[in-house]
Amino acid sequence: MPKITEQIMDALDVETFFVCATEEEGRNLMLNLIKSWGFTDADVVFAQHEGPGVRVRGRAYVYRPADKYRWLLREAEAAQEG
């Protein structure tokens, strides 16, 4: 069973609303959340704080251009094995 992340073409985006006091706090919460899942190449694409909290979208790049994409390589490996 291939790892699920191997089928992500390039990046995983996560959107949520954190109850928090500042945009900076919301950004940190998002980065910590993504990193807690084991992703290392993480960033906040968008964050907007208004009174109750922050609307925030985080991104984990699974592959950047010129990486070796498992969604391609596993196809080739499967073909070789088959």
């Binding site: 390039d10 991104r59 251009p65 196809e75 073909a79």
Partner: protein, 606 residues
């Protein structure tokens, strides 16, 4: 005639069933549609009385859906109809897996077609027809005669084009020479048949800069590039075969024929590009645009081989072009940008030989906004137009110098100069005004109330001057996008709808990552804007957007401004000097004549 009973298992909603019932009747079925708000027992009584072979239920409300549907199946079983009546269930909250779990024979979610239901009734497997959205590849320049509607501007352009043609006639450059070699010595069919590159590389490296020369001497690559492995190539081939087998494409324009919608790819990696292209085609893109890395524009000569690149812009090589071209749907228009940099003419030659449909040329923008020396850019641009004609490549004349701060009327004057020269040389230019919240607009308050009037004015002004195709870009909505994907998709869709309302020929759209600079554009962000544009086109259909009377005033001012600039350029009598002196955009306005390729123009000895 087969009888189908349709019943909403819902207190009020039955629209979906009505649509399916109408479709089934058109397909020759006898249908009986029960009213909403019947009990499960009443529906089963009707099924018994009508002796129906198929019962289609619908349930729009999501709350408690599983319990209600499970109870219905139990009751049907108890009444003895379950074994002889096919049971289907549809609705917003329904998915095939849920329906099967609850004991139904089929489940139909949102977007179900009548054909799917007919297949269910007749016990046939549903196979979506990939040709149901069959697209053709149109020529967006067809029907345009390039006749002038503004005689005064035509006369000014006549003088300027004559000056440029006279100036350029005895000039060449390393870029022009490489293009000539590629044109004369390199045969794409031979190369595809693995019979080599002919005599090209005996002469080519001598005309190149350091990076390609090192590559041809020792195989050393640009530090941000690497060759693909054999396993990666095999993986791509398998991926392409699998994806193409299930591929179909959407049409975005609803009831209209245009505008065609283009997206730009250029992740750096041809394989990732292909992934993005296939996703874009599936979600409705009519065309895709190739651009090279920024260092490629400042490098004399191309590399060769099957190369991936870590940063923005995909390396131009025959092998990379060949893979990308091979992955495209037959209906997809393929544009290769050649508007800037030191490889402009050879880009058009290679694009033409590899089967591109369009290119992009503007030596004014290339010199003022993209860093190439004006004299070099004019020589190279002139020859690029000739190659575009030879390889049957219409090209847009982009005006992105507006983003540096150049006022629209100056950028338009430059665009018209290139377009006029192109028409004289037999080319087919497409005018590309920006739909943008440009620095000129911000400073002048030209969009203080709305984004409609000034963008409309650009189209009105250009249509008042010449009968030529129009392709706002690139991308539409430049500088109106933010990192918020909802806002960005909305801004793109609204600009697209304005373009549609103005009946232009094509648009280029950005992804919702347009304003995000922290990393590469992601595949879903491309789909965001395609979906938004499709929804916008659906919303407006043949209806339109009404500008205010300001649009006419702005259009008049643009035309007057263009006339004044063309007067000044014509009077200067030396086009390259006019560019240096800021007549088409000054340093104060953010336009800096480029330095790349300075002093490389050569005089051709007779």
């Amino acid at each position: 005639m087969k009888k189908v009973l349709l019943a909403p298992l819902d207190p009020v909603h039955d629209i979906g069933l009505k649509i399916i019932a109408r479709g089934l009747e058109e397909a020759g079925y006898e249908t009986l549609l029960l009213p909403p708000d019947l009990t499960e027992e009443e529906i089963i009584d009707n099924a018994l009385r009508e002796n129906t072979a198929t019962l289609l239920l619908s349930r729009t409300l999501g709350y408690g859906v599983a319990e209600i549907l499970a109870r219905f199946v139990d009751l049907a079983d108890a009444a003895g109809i379950r074994a002889k009546v096919k049971l289907g269930i549809g609705g917003m909250a329904i998915r095939p897996e849920l329906a099967a779990e609850l004991g139904f024979d089929a489940g139909f979610g949102p977007g179900t077609t009548v054909e799917e239901v007919v297949c269910f009734i007749e016990g046939r497997e549903y196979r979506p027809d990939p040709t149901r959205c069959a697209k053709t590849k149109p020529d967006m320049t067809a029907g345009y005669g390039y006749g002038y509607r503004h005689a005064g501007i035509a006369a000014r352009l006549d003088r300027i084009s004559a000056q440029i043609m006279d100036w350029v006639k005895d000039k060449s450059s390393p870029g022009v020479e490489r293009a000539r070699l590629r044109d004369e010595l390199w045969n794409a069919a031979e190369w595809r048949a693995r019979r080599g590159d002919g005599e090209l590389y005996r002469h080519y490296p001598a005309l190149c800069g350091d990076i390609p020369r090192k590559y041809y001497a020792s195989g050393e690559l640009h530090p941000k590039t690497r060759r693909f492995t054999k396993t990666e190539v095999e993986g791509l081939e398998k991926y392409l075969a699998d994806t193409k087998a299930r591929m179909s494409v959407r049409k975005l324009q609803h009831s209209r024929r245009k505008p065609l919608v283009f997206v730009q790819y250029g992740t750096g990696c041809p394989f990732m590009d292909i992934g993005h292209i296939l996703a874009s085609e599936a979600w409705g893109a009519d065309g895709v645009v190739h651009f090279d890395p920024s260092w490629g524009a400042r490098t004399e000569g191309f590399l060769d081989g099957f190369l991936t690149h870590q940063e923005d812009g995909t390396v131009i090589t025959p092998a990379n072009f060949n893979r990308i071209k091979g992955a495209l749907e037959d209906s997809t228009l393929w544009q290769v940008r050649a508007h800037r940099g030191l490889n402009t003419p050879e880009t058009a030659v290679l694009a033409g030989k590899m089967g591109a449909d369009l290119t992009k040329i503007n030596f004014c923008y290339g010199a003022l906004g993209a860093g190439t020396d004006p004299a070099r850019m004019v020589v190279d641009g002139y020859h690029t137009i000739l190659y575009a004609k030879k390889y049957n490549l219409p090209f847009d004349v982009v005006t992105n110098e507006e983003l540096c701060g150049v006022p629209a009327h100056k950028a338009f004057a430059g665009m018209l100069i290139v377009a006029d020269l192109a028409v004289r040389l037999g080319g087919r230019p497409i005018l590309q005004p920006l739909f943008a919240y440009s620095p000129e607009v911000m400073v002048g308050g030209l969009m203080a109330d709305n984004y409609v009037d000034f963008n409309t004015a650009k189209i009105k002004a250009l249509r008042g001057i010449i009968d030529a195709p129009l392709w706002p870009g690139a991308p539409i909505g430049f500088l109106t996008h933010t990192e918020d994907r909802v806002q960005s998709a909305m801004a793109t869709a609204l600009h697209a709808c304005l373009a549609s309302s103005l009946e232009v020929d094509a648009i280029s759209i950005a992804s919702t990552d347009e304003a995000y600079s922290g990393g590469p554009i992601s595949a879903p962000s491309r789909i965001d804007t395609l979906r938004a544009v499709q929804e916008g086109f659906r919303f407006f259909g043949q209806a339109g957007i009404n500008p205010t009377s300001e649009a006419d005033r702005y259009a008049d001012e643009l035309v007057a401004g263009i006339e004044k600039v063309l007067d000044e350029v014509a009077a200067r009598g030396d086009f390259v000097a006019a560019v240096h002196e800021g007549l088409l955009g000054s340093r104060a306005e953010g336009a800096y004549p480029g330095r790349s390729g300075k002093d490389t123009v050569t005089i051709v000895k007779k």
